[in-house]
Amino acid sequence: MTWLLAWRNLWRHTRRTWLTVGAMVFCNVLLVFLISLQLGSYQMMIDGSLSAFTGHIQIQQEGYLDGQRMRQSVPDAADLASQVRTLLGVETVAARAEAFALASSEERSFGILLTGVQPGYEPGVSTFPGLLKEGRYLQGADAREIIIGSVLAANLKLALGDELTFLGSGRDGSFAAAVVVVVGIVDSGITELDRNVAQVPLGWFQQVFAMGDHGHSVVIRVPNLEQVDAAVADLDALLPTLQADQQQLRVLDWDALQPGLRQAITSDMTSAWFMYAILIVLVAFSVLNTQLMSVLERTREFGVMLALGMSPARLARLVAMETLLMSGLGLALGVLLGALLTVYLSYAGFSYPGMDEMAARFNMSALMYPQVSPLSLLWGPLTVFCGALLAAVYPALRLLRLQPVAAMRAA
């Protein structure tokens, strides 16, 4: 009965109720859209940044991440990689080694970061080999061949089949020099990557740079981000069982490998939440205004009800119910419309001007796909709902102080 009364009261001012519900729906749809877009873009940022090269987890010697010194290496890298494969039950594990060297073609010389990879496993941990534009990927662990990014190829004026000379220093500080043949050119569309990547087979790399069986990292890619923590725990348990010369090894997850990534997300979240909070506060004001008005204009009516023996607490409850119904309506419509919009966009994609440049920084495509999940759909609207209920506390409290005679006399 009271619910019915609350519902009827709500529609005494159709326009006002709809305007208030409208404010909530507007805010809810916006929040659903923005939050799912945000979560979607974080997912893409993480995937984009990690899939090109870094992987989800790496095993490195302690200190290598910061210093990248040649001798901070992983002994028996290829063997460790296969142990990890068995342990985690995934094939996407590969050993790598890295060295800076002066690369000279016939016409040009550049300092580049040369990466020794396991040709059989590297495509599993990195999307880069898949973006081959010309030629083929590396074959055989010891072959004297290289694949390079398209920008680097252009800068060095290299074509398929051309030779490239390396000058650098080995792990022991010795002079390292070699000649390789370009067998493939990769074009990822991301200038920074295409300018820097040069991959050679790990076996050959180890010979030239006097690495023995050492590498610099074992890169692991797990099927999805949620599995990272479990995999890290497994690997942490594995490390102490290894030989003595591998005791210096550390397991690093993507957050440790690219600390900027999570921080970029955090800072973006902070500014986004500032905006959300403002929207929610404004909607709460809207609800406060409406409910206060509806209480004030009914003072006389409430006076009569008090005189008839209704308790002030019951009146307060009536107003609370009205707010609940109104906010519930806003919640339902907001989630519904918000879900329709985001589900559509999660298929169609979404872009805004300037997005290309932003996206390139994080190796993302220029189209964003919002993430549709209960979290992204309900988070914002539920907060708005709570904010609205909170806003109605003051008008409801006013009722508790109402005196029947004074109220009935009120204009």
């Binding site: 010194r69 650098g168 955090t266 403002i278 004001f285 008005m293």
Partner: protein, 410 residues
């Protein structure tokens, strides 16, 4: 018409305070909305400003001149003659505040322990100073004395990675125009710290003349960088430099050299506007609601005024004025609030906890909000224009009331 507007203005003002609770709530909502608009734009402006400044610092300069091929193939082969004739004249005249010609080639630097790829800058310290492109801070040793200085200055992060120190020997290697390896052993005479650690890893400073000698390119340079100390209005003056430089050379403003930065500036302005409009829309429901209620409560009164001979336009003006008062008061409060909250923050907000994340965007560890008159003006314009637009419907409804029906309203 003047008298009638005055009459209506008084009426609108008094009506505003008839339901002071409602007005105060709405006022607070508008003030918070306006504050948020200005506060957010100040943060964003601070962020882009810094991004652009950092960007221009690394670039460096607002405009750069290169050999036509240099940007696609940044090799010593694509060097240019130092400025002379008309170009030199243009560079020496206003509005150019400073310019510098520099050698900039990819190179490899090797210490006893390690080897890294870097960008080697052959500079003339005397010219770089005014351009603002010297390293942020020398933490050890000194910067180069002049273009003939035989030492190198490297970043702190690079020194760590190379496991080298001040005074140690390093070898720098590059190529000469005939693709012979050009190398020379030298000493680290200074170590610098930069706002962005990526910069520390990348740039190695050496004397211009010394590098020209090493690369065997006589007096050729890779780029000329110039600044007029006003990055927002580069397009106004750079075409003149372009004309003076002739067809052989490529003259480019920073917006094209670093399209990310260029876009960011536009995106920031656009985003600030979108944010303002969104905040306003959230506000507008409450505003329209307030006005609808105000009209609703006063139907009879409006009927009376119509009966007394007030034209519909004047009734509409009255409601719009009431809305305008509310908006202006809210704007005033919001602006004062913004002023009070942003001023103390202008010394900088420490965001070092997310510094590496911000570095991906080209930002440092401190955010300096920038309170700009433009943003305040823009928020005012958004609120007033959209506010009046939103008030049109209730005002129009009030004006269209039928006086007889309105007077009979109970």
């Amino acid at each position: 018409m003047h008298g009638s507007l005055t009459a209506v203005a008084t009426l609108a003002w008094r009506n505003l305070w008839r339901n002071h609770r409602r007005t105060l709530i709405m006022l607070m909502a508008i003030a918070i909305g306006v504050w948020a608009m200005i506060f957010m734009s100040a943060l964003m402006r601070g962020m882009t400003d810094q991004m652009v400044r950092n960007g221009l610092h690394t670039l460096p300069g607002e405009v750069q001149i290169h050999h036509r091929e240099y940007r696609s193939d940044p090799s010593v082969v694509n060097s240019m003659e130092p400025p002379s004739g008309a170009l030199l004249q243009a560079l020496e005249g206003p509005p150019i505040a400073a310019w510098s010609s520099r050698v900039r080639v990819p190179a490899v630097i090797a210490s006893e322990r390690s080897t890294r790829g870097v960008t080697l800058l052959g500079v003339d310290p005397a010219a770089e100073g005014p351009l603002g492109s010297l390293p942020d801070e020398i933490i050890q040793g000194r910067f180069l004395k002049d273009a003939d200085d035989r030492g190198v200055v490297i970043g702190a992060s690079l020194a760590r990675r190379l496991e080298t120190r001040l005074g140690k020997r390093v070898v720098i290697m590059s190529q000469d125009p005939d693709n012979n390896v050009a190398d020379r052993g030298t000493r680290v005479v200074g170590i610098y710290r930069a706002r962005l650690s990526g910069t520390e890893d990348r740039f190695v400073y050496a004397g211009r003349t010394v590098i020209q000698g090493m690369l065997r390119i006589d007096n050729l340079v890779s780029e000329v960088a110039l600044t007029a100390d006003d990055y927002r209005h580069v397009s106004a003056w750079y075409p003149r430099i372009e004309a003076a430089a002739g067809d052989e050379l490529e003259v480019m403003p920073w917006t094209e050299l670093d399209t990310f930065l260029g876009t960011m500036l536009g995106v920031q302005d656009g985003f600030a506007l979108i944010f303002m409009v969104v905040v306003f829309l959230a506000l507008s429901f409450g505003l329209v609601n307030t006005l609808v209620m105000a009209v609703f409560e006063r139907v009879r009164e409006i009927g009376l005024m119509q009966a007394l001979g007030m034209r519909p336009g004047l009734i509409m003006a009255q409601i719009l004025l009431e809305s305008l008062y509310l908006l202006c008061l809210g704007l005033l409060l919001g602006n004062v609030l913004a002023l009070v909250t942003i001023k103390p923050l202008e010394a900088g907000i420490d965001i070092s906890s997310v510094a590496q994340g911000m570095e991906m965007m080209g930002m440092g560890a401190t955010l300096y909000p920038v309170l700009s008159v433009w943003d305040m003006g823009m928020s005012t314009a958004v609120v007033v224009i959209l506010g009046l637009l939103a008030s049109l419907t209730p005002a129009w409804r009030a004006a269209r009331l039928d006086p007889v029906a309105a007077l009979n309203e109970t």
